[in-house]
């Protein structure tokens, strides 16, 4: 009796070391089936290493990593038929044409690969007779994506696929991903284009120092943050009661701050304060959230200070 696992990706306490130094240090992650999971993190946080473990290129030094219920390392060959992978800097055989690279790769895949590849190549506007060395970065990335998709994968792993691409190419590429997501495939994507990921990602995970610090749905994450702005007369109001101030900027008597886990009553009291005018309160974008959660800060700013950023206070891990 086989039952499809609920999670397309299951990573538990994953450890990978390079020359003794941990690149991934106890990372745990679950990616639900059909989700578009954006893996965010600074350079060197461990995103690409995690991707390589998932594609069976790296052997974990500890923990376990599963794709579709199969061990990523032990069942790498099986999984490569079910998983599409686009690396951050795809490097193919430049001397081959678009058609030839499809034929060559198809020789290792199951039947139907080449037809799907040519189909995708057409959809991605790739000239079959053009050599890869003649492509720009965007074209090259599209070839790589076509190869990844031609296997008709259940899971698509995209490791910063849009890095180095111009704006239009990047948007075109991500638009294709939206289509794929609509088909119900599971997509794990890491990228620095957070604002563009925000358009179609359903889940977000934040990696720091080889660990997942936040993993949740995009809506839930954004719902915890608010951006508030107002003008004041006299002495500045006391903001300690409204919530955790993550970011604060003050110009003259105008103030703007980012709040996490705001207290609605305290905010209402602030808005009702006669010394406060031009009060504004609105949602924040993912980039602000990410910056607030990952930006290091020395201290929590007091309102009396001119500008400053604060890191949320450590909370108990659930």
């Amino acid at each position: 009796m086989s039952q499809l696992p609920a999670d397309a990706i299951y990573i538990d306490k994953l450890v990978v070391r390079y020359r003794g130094k941990p690149a991934v240090d106890g990372l745990s992650l679950r990616v639900p089936r059909g989700s578009v999971f954006a893996l965010l993190g600074d350079n060197g946080a461990g995103k690409s290493t995690t991707m390589k473990v998932l594609t069976g290129q790296l052997r974990p030094d500890g923990g376990r990593a599963e794709l579709l219920g199969l061990d990523c390392w032990n069942s790498a060959d099986t999984l490569r038929h079910k998983v599409g992978y686009v690396p951050d800097r795809p490097k193919l055989y430049d001397w081959m044409t678009v058609s030839e690279i499809g034929w060559f790769t198809g020789a290792f895949h199951q039947p139907g690969f080449r037809d799907r590849y040519l189909d995708w190549a057409g959809r991605l506007a790739l000239d079959p007779n053009k050599k890869l060395k003649d492509f720009s970065k965007g074209g090259y990335a599209r070839v790589s994506l076509a190869l990844a998709l031609a296997a008709d994968p259940e899971v698509l792993l995209l490791d910063e696929p849009t890095s180095g691409l111009d704006l239009h190419t990047r948007r075109e590429f991500l638009a294709n991903l939206v289509d794929l997501a609509a088909e119900g495939r599971t997509i794990l994507i890491s990228s620095h284009s957070i604002s563009e990921l925000e358009r179609f990602a359903s889940h977000v995970g934040i990696v720091q120092h080889g660990k997942i610090t936040h993993a949740t749905t995009l809506d839930a994450l954004r719902g915890r943050f608010r951006r508030v702005g107002f003008r004041y007369d006299g002495s500045p109001p006391d903001l300690r009661m409204v919530g955790t101030v993550c970011e604060l900027s003050r110009v003259g008597r105008s103030a703007q701050f980012l709040l996490m886990d705001a207290d609605a009553d305290a905010l209402a009291a602030l808005q009702a304060d006669p010394a406060v005018s031009d009060y504004e309160d609105g949602p924040v974008n993912l980039e602000d959230v990410y910056a607030a959660l990952t930006r290091p800060a020395d201290h929590v700013p007091a309102f009396g200070e001119r500008n400053g950023v604060a890191r949320p206070k450590p909370e108990a891990v659930r």
């Binding site: 290129q57 052997r59 376990r64 390392w73 120092h209």
Partner: protein, 1019 residues
């Protein structure tokens, strides 16, 4: 899948493979034409195979093909960055490995087949049993391919893969294969292992052979094991299983608050350069960069060089081939690796983007690379240096006869290859992105460039600037291209223009150096005189009866003296082999009992002794008929005993040596017959000896000229002994006087003829380098082993090939013309000689330098002897006619002498009648000799035995050697004393030390004519 992989490998490596096939065929064809292969190699030893240029080239090409293709297989993916794509293809790794190996193997076999066909066509591979050879060659190439694949799996780029493959293959060839084969042979031996019954069953042999072939599969297994290591690990982990799953929430909201404050700071560079206070900081930084980039490659290549250097200790491995190959390749690697970082990792753009001074970078790279290259060369030479020091020898007898000759420019030869390898690798490394392509191209270019100087090195007299200016031009050309490389514009018009200009400069430097090789030797008008001399003056072979008869006499005499026939060692009816021809056994001259030699010489000095044993021995000597043959020979028209056309500069003068004792024996026999009552016999003997000396001297080389003069003087030494016991017989005295007149008319100075004869010999020597050098390098010794002879063959063939180069041949033509001239226009006459590097052949130089002096000295002495002997004979005739000695010499003219007697210097001879005086010899040190010869040359003359200068002229009663300087000889009253004045005109009555030879002290000449026996004693 396999088809796709084979297609991919073919597409990726087809250019390399075609290049290898085409260049390999060209190389094999060239080597095959220059070194015609042997049709049959049965019985060859391993060393014979390894030292045959054709087979060695073919083998190296197979190894190169296998290692390059194998080394590119997996490392090439990493180098191109496609490894991630390739290894994430959805198949097991062993399938990828198998597909790649199949593709590579097909390519290797294809190239091997082409090379094998080329080798078989030009005769490098024997035509017999071609299928068997094909199988062996294919297995060999595949083994190299397998080891290349091992390196490729472990390396990150193709060059490192091929390099590692070569190292692994070499280690395997040194350890695994010999041990495996030995073990198999032991197991398969009759009576052992599988064949305990000793019946020689085919099972044992078949098993053994299968095991041997299995050894060739070893590298394939190793590479497969390493490449499929992830698969093994997966299977292993599948057995033990992953750790148990744990449950954790899908959505995390975790903030750790970790900071990086506690992390240790990364340590700075551990290496700090020594202080270079005077160097610019940018240069110091460049030097630091070069140090960081080259230290590990230098260490690895030094280790590799050390391993290769160990093979130089094997006696039959030709160092003259191994050293250039190894050090040139290591130099190329060092040159290419110097740019690997900039080319492979794109670090070159850093120099452009930062607008940094590329000149300083280039300078640092050149200096650092050269130092590294020298360190690698030293590491390669280390084993042989240590062995040499351990033996406390200035040379090592292993590995080369050529390189360790005393005067060979060993250092220049040793540095030529690594420096050229580095320079060309440095330039080519700038032009190609892929290191393996750079190494392949640079190796070929550097080999051609360095080999351009090999003939000149082997020809001697090569200046340093000629060698190093082209290498410097190559490095400067690289300087012009550094910016283009960094900016990735090597293919641009400007870079190509610079490359063209630099290449033209390099070619010009080569052309200038080679042209100077020729032009530094003036083309004298008389350079071809020897050709006319050879054609017109030397008596032709046909019809030279004198030569034939005299040679026959010499053979008979030497047979008697040595006690064996010269042809005893030869197979009946066959021509002598080279070994027999040059062996001492064949030499017709052997040692003569020293006592009899001294005894016969004593007869010349003191007169016939009544020793019955000597008489018996003389009867035996003359019973062989040699004297009659010589007499017949001298009666014929004048011939040439030692024909210059047959000689090289180091040929033994066999016919002359055979007659070494002939003159003495003839004269002694004459004196003996005089004692037996036949005084005319001496006259015949003197006539024969003088005739013999003319045949020896006629149109022949310097050594023969000197020997002929010695023979002639021997006659004059014996004449007083004959006169002492001659009673009356004015007819015989007159006859001898007439013979001397005839000889005097013939014996004119012939320095020109000698020079031309030596020129003929010199030309012969240039055209017969192989024979010349084999003779030099102990080929004549029967004890020389087969391996040593192979080594000698290799080196002599190399020199012969070098001397056939057009510019060297033209240089030799010019040297032939100027080689024997006294006023040599060059800075150092010896350095210009092609023999200067070959010790033991210095006699060529000596002849050219000292021939006029030596010949003049010998002529002076001989002429003095001859004139004074004629005075003796004239005085005797006068005494017989007047019963009293002539009161003065003037009374002898014109009846007894044609003209007033002078000494060789042209001064009148002093003549007086003794009043009964003691003739004393001066005890003072002889005055300095004008002009002084360099000590080195004097020493060489003494060692070399160029005699003829130091013969003392004693005609008077000779004092014993111990009385030489304190001798007092009483001259009775009334006896004449004839003394020369000498060139220094130094004379005192009774005390005289005249100089008769300008080239050296020739002794004191006093002519005291022996008195005629009283009439009562006459028979």
């Amino acid at each position: 899948m396999i088809r796709a992989l084979v297609w991919k490998e073919f597409r990726e490596q087809v250019v390399i493979v075609i290049a290898l096939a085409v260049l390999g065929c060209g190389l094999i064809a060239a080597v095959g034409m220059l070194n015609p292969g042997t049709a049959d190699v049965y019985g060859w030893s391993a060393g014979r195979f390894l030292t045959d240029p054709g087979f060695l080239t073919f083998t190296m090409l197979l190894v190169s093909t296998g290692v390059v293709v194998g080394g590119t297989l997996f490392a090439g993916e990493k180098e191109r960055g496609t490894n991630q794509f390739f290894t994430t293809l959805p198949v097991a790794r062993w399938r990828l490995w198998a597909g790649k190996m199949a593709g590579g193997g097909v390519l290797v076999l294809a190239v091997t087949g082409v090379l094998f066909a080329a080798a078989a066509a030009v005769g490098v591979v024997p035509a017999r049993v071609l299928p068997a050879w094909g199988l062996a060659v294919g297995a060999f190439a595949l083994a190299a391919f397998g080891w290349g694949a091992v390196g490729s799996v472990l390396a990150r780029n193709s060059l490192a893969g091929a390099g590692l493959g070569a190292v692994f293959g070499a280690l395997g060839a040194c350890t695994v294969y010999p041990l495996g084969v030995l073990a198999v042979m032991e197991v398969a031996r009759p009576g052992r292992g599988l064949d305990v019954n000793g019946s020689g069953s085919t099972l044992a042999w078949t098993t053994g052979m299968l095991t041997v072939f299995a050894l060739f599969a070893l590298p394939f297994l190793i590479s497969a094991w390493f490449y499929t290591a992830p698969d093994h690990d997966r299977r292993l982990r599948a057995v033990f299983g992953p750790p148990p799953r744990t449950d954790f929430p899908t959505y995390l909201d975790r903030t750790t608050g970790t900071t990086t404050d506690g992390e240790p700071r990364r340590a700075g560079p551990r290496f700090t350069l020594p202080r270079f206070p005077r160097l610019a900081p940018s240069f110091r930084a460049s030097a630091w960069l070069v140090w960081k980039q080259t230290r590990v490659p230098t260490l690895i290549l030094s280790t590799l060089g050390l391993l290769c250097g160990l093979s130089l200790l094997v006696p039959d491995v030709p160092a003259v081939i191994l050293w250039p190959s190894v050090t040139l390749f290591l130099g190329v690697l060092m040159g290419v690796i110097g740019w690997a970082d900039e080319q492979g990792n794109g670090a070159g753009r850093f120099w452009v983007e930062r607008r940094t001074p590329t000149g300083r970078l280039w300078l640092a790279k050149v200096l650092g690379g050269l130092l590294s290259t020298l360190a690698i060369a030293v590491a390669t030479a280390l084993p042989i240096i240590i062995l040499s020091m351990a033996r406390k020898l200035g040379r090592v007898d292993h590995g080369s006869y050529l390189l360790f000759e005393y005067d060979f420019p060993l250092l220049r030869f040793a540095l030529l290859w690594p420096v050229y390898g580095f320079a060309v690798g440095h330039l080519i490394g700038l032009l190609f992105r892929k290191p393996i392509v750079s190494v392949a191209v640079a190796t070929m270019v550097a080999a051609v460039a360095a080999m351009a100087w090999l003939p000149s090195l082997l020809g001697g007299g090569l200046s340093r600037w000629q060698m190093w200016v082209p290498a410097a031009a190559v490095l400067l050309t690289a300087r012009l291209l550094v910016w283009a490389m960094a900016a990735d514009r090597v293919g641009g018009r400007r870079a190509i223009t610079r490359l063209a200009v630099g290449s033209a400069a390099v070619l010009a430097a080569f052309a200038a150096g080679l042209a100077y090789r020729v032009l530094e030797i003036p083309s004298v008008p008389e350079r071809d005189d020897d050709l006319a001399f050879k054609a017109n003056d030397i008596p032709p072979f046909e019809g030279d009866d004198a030569r034939r008869e005299i040679r026959r006499g010499g053979v008979l005499l030497s047979e008697f003296l040595t006690g064996r026939r010269p042809t005893d060692a030869l197979p009946a009816g066959n021509e002598p082999t080279p070994e027999q021809f040059y062996s001492f056994a064949y030499e017709p001259v052997g040692p003569m009992p020293d006592g009899r030699r001294r005894l016969t010489e004593a007869v010349i000095e003191h007169g016939w002794t009544d020793d019955p044993n000597l008489a018996v021995w003389l009867d035996a000597v003359f019973a062989t008929g040699w004297a009659e043959a010589v007499e017949v020979g001298v009666s014929k028209p004048l011939g040439t005993l030692e024909d210059p056309r047959d000689l090289l500069v180091n040929s033994p003068l066999r016919h002359l040596n055979a007659l070494d004792m002939a003159d003495t024996l003839l004269l002694v026999q004459g004196l003996r017959k005089q004692a037996d009552g036949d005084p005319a016999a001496f006259v015949r003997a003197a006539d024969t000896v003088l005739g013999l000396s003319r045949n020896v001297r006629n149109k022949s080389v310097l050594a023969c000229g000197l020997a002929a003069r010695r023979m002639e003087r021997r006659v004059y030494q014996a004449v007083p002994r004959w006169l002492e016991k001659l009673h009356g017989r004015a007819d015989l005295v007159a006859e001898l006087h007439c013979i001397l007149d005839t000889h005097d008319a013939w014996a004119k100075p012939d320095a020109d003829a000698v020079r031309l004869a030596e020129q003929v010999v010199l030309r012969n020597s240039f055209q017969a380098a192989g024979e010349l050098l084999r003779r030099r390098w102990n080929y004549t010794q029967q004890s020389t082993s087969e391996e040593q002879r192979r080594l000698i063959d290799v080196e002599t063939d190399l020199v012969a090939l070098a001397w056939r180069m057009p510019w060297e041949m033209e240089r030799h033509e010019r040297l032939i013309g100027t080689g024997n001239r006294t006023t040599y226009p060059l800075r150092e006459p010896f350095e210009a000689s092609p023999f200067s590097g070959l010790s033991g052949l210095w006699s060529v130089e000596m002849r050219s330098y000292s021939m006029p002096r030596v010949l003049d000295a010998a002529d002076t002495a001989t002429t003095a002897y001859r004139r004074f002997t004629r005075i003796l004979l004239a005085a005797r005739l006068y005494e017989l006619a007047h019963d009293a000695p002539p009161p003065t010499l003037e009374v002898l003219v014109p009846d007894y002498l044609p003209a007033a007697a002078t000494d060789p210097a042209g001064w009148m001879v002093v003549y007086r009648l003794s009043e009964g005086e003691d003739l004393r010899y001066d005890t003072r040190t002889p005055p300095p000799l004008p002009p002084p010869l360099p000590d080195e040359i004097v020493a060489r003359i003494a060692v070399g035995g160029v005699s003829g200068m130091t013969d003392a002229l004693w005609i008077a009663e000779r004092p014993s050697p111990s009385d030489l300087y304190q001798s007092v000889v009483f001259i009775p009253p009334g006896r004449p004393i004839v003394s020369p004045v000498g060139s220094v005109r130094y004379r005192l009555p009774g005390h005289t030390m005249p100089q008769v030879a300008p080239g050296g002290w020739a002794g004191t000449l006093h002519v005291v004519p022996p008195p005629a026996p009283p009439p009562g004693d006459r028979p």
